[in-house]
């Protein structure tokens, strides 16, 4: 009897762990480059026109100020309590920006790495009044780690549907002003490390 009970508990436990680990985030991206110019998006009941993406356009060059050791490790830090992102190369600050992390879904804290980058992709998810379906999400950098599988769809990316940075506003991703996301996207490589810490206040 006890053995059987333990067996059942083990099975339920394994299923729970599996569901937790592989549960898709509310955000369900396509994990591919996807440019859909002229297609309207939806964010929380409002129609929104995405920016036009021109893959042939020349991106502006990054100007790195100060003494930067180009061989030094790059690190990205996101403080959930202040809703800020800081990017360092070695000890040199490359950029600092206000971001918007999870309001309708939690942004995970921990150590992560960027596993893929796309100039633009589509993201959809949520339900009811918080439903969203957004083409041309610019400068998307997906990350995984700290028990968060790549398939969960967490990413740093530009956000063109709101301008409320410095305040929680996402379904779990890290929203950035497009102008900041572009700068980070050009600077950060695949496998760059991200540390997310602190606790958002709302």
């Amino acid at each position: 009897m006890i053995k059987k009970l333990a067996g059942y508990l083990l099975i339920v436990g394994l299923i729970a762990v599996g569901v937790f680990y592989f549960k898709p985030q509310e955000n369900q991206p396509d994990f591919k480059l996807q440019v859909e110019n002229g297609v309207m998006g939806v964010f929380h009941g409002q129609e929104v026109m995405p920016p036009t993406i021109d893959l042939a356009a020349v991106e502006p060059e990054i100007n790195v100020l100060g003494d930067t050791d180009s061989m030094a490790e790059k690190r990205i830090y996101i403080d959930l309590s202040t809703q800020t992102l800081s990017a360092y190369q070695g000890d040199s600050l490359f950029m600092e920006a206000l971001v918007s992390t999870g309001k309708w879904g939690r942004t995970p804290a921990g150590e992560f790495t960027i596993w893929s980058k796309f100039r633009a992709t589509r993201m959809s998810g949520g339900s009811g009044s918080s439903y969203y379906n957004l083409p041309n999400v610019p400068y998307t950098m997906f990350f995984s780690g700290s028990g968060v599988a790549a398939g969960r769809g967490y990413a740093l990316h530009g956000a063109y549907w709101h301008n409320n940075f410095g305040h929680t506003m996402s379904h779990g991703c890290v929203n950035m002003r497009t102008v900041d996301a572009q700068k980070l996207f050009q600077w950060a490589d695949i496998n760059e490390r991200i540390t997310i810490y602190g606790e958002a206040s709302g």
Partner: protein, 199 residues
Amino acid sequence: MAKHQDKLSLWLVIGLAIVAGLVFWWPKPESEPIQVLTEASPSPEPILSAISADGEVILKMKQAKETETITWTLTANQVEEVAKTIWWQVLSQDTTMSIPFNTVSPDNKYLFLKQTGPDKIGYLVLTVSGEPIIPEIQTIEFAELFELEYPEYKITEVTGWGGIDLIVFNTDKVEGGIGPSFWYDVASRSFIRLSNRFE
């Protein structure tokens, strides 16, 4: 008997799993809101120039001091275009204008400004193009409209744009305590009370 016990334990485990699942996935209550700085910027000082979130629009506020007044002038331009004056106002010397960090709407159509006077703070909405926001009306001062419609609340912070034409702001209760967040819908010129706060 043993078979009956097996079934019972199976149902017990399923029940436990359902309860655990509900506890795990049930939405967590909003944490206690805290007061944050009025200007949402890495540098919380009021700013006199700003760029839209997509980098396309550049705003600059200039001031010309006279004996008793200051003339405030706001210019806007698209990148690589000539700046155009889109708003100006003569104010007493004890009143200042500033550009909040999240000033421009996501579609670059509208912007809002903060006006800090000796005894009140106002928020002006205007168009980035400089065209009247509604026929024959150049700007809307929504803090005053809000005070008339919701006298029981006072605006504590205007955080930015929650959507294409939705300005987000937080309030306190006039009699003390934290109030709800609201949207000011610029398109319909109406206030929408929200069920949660934008901290």
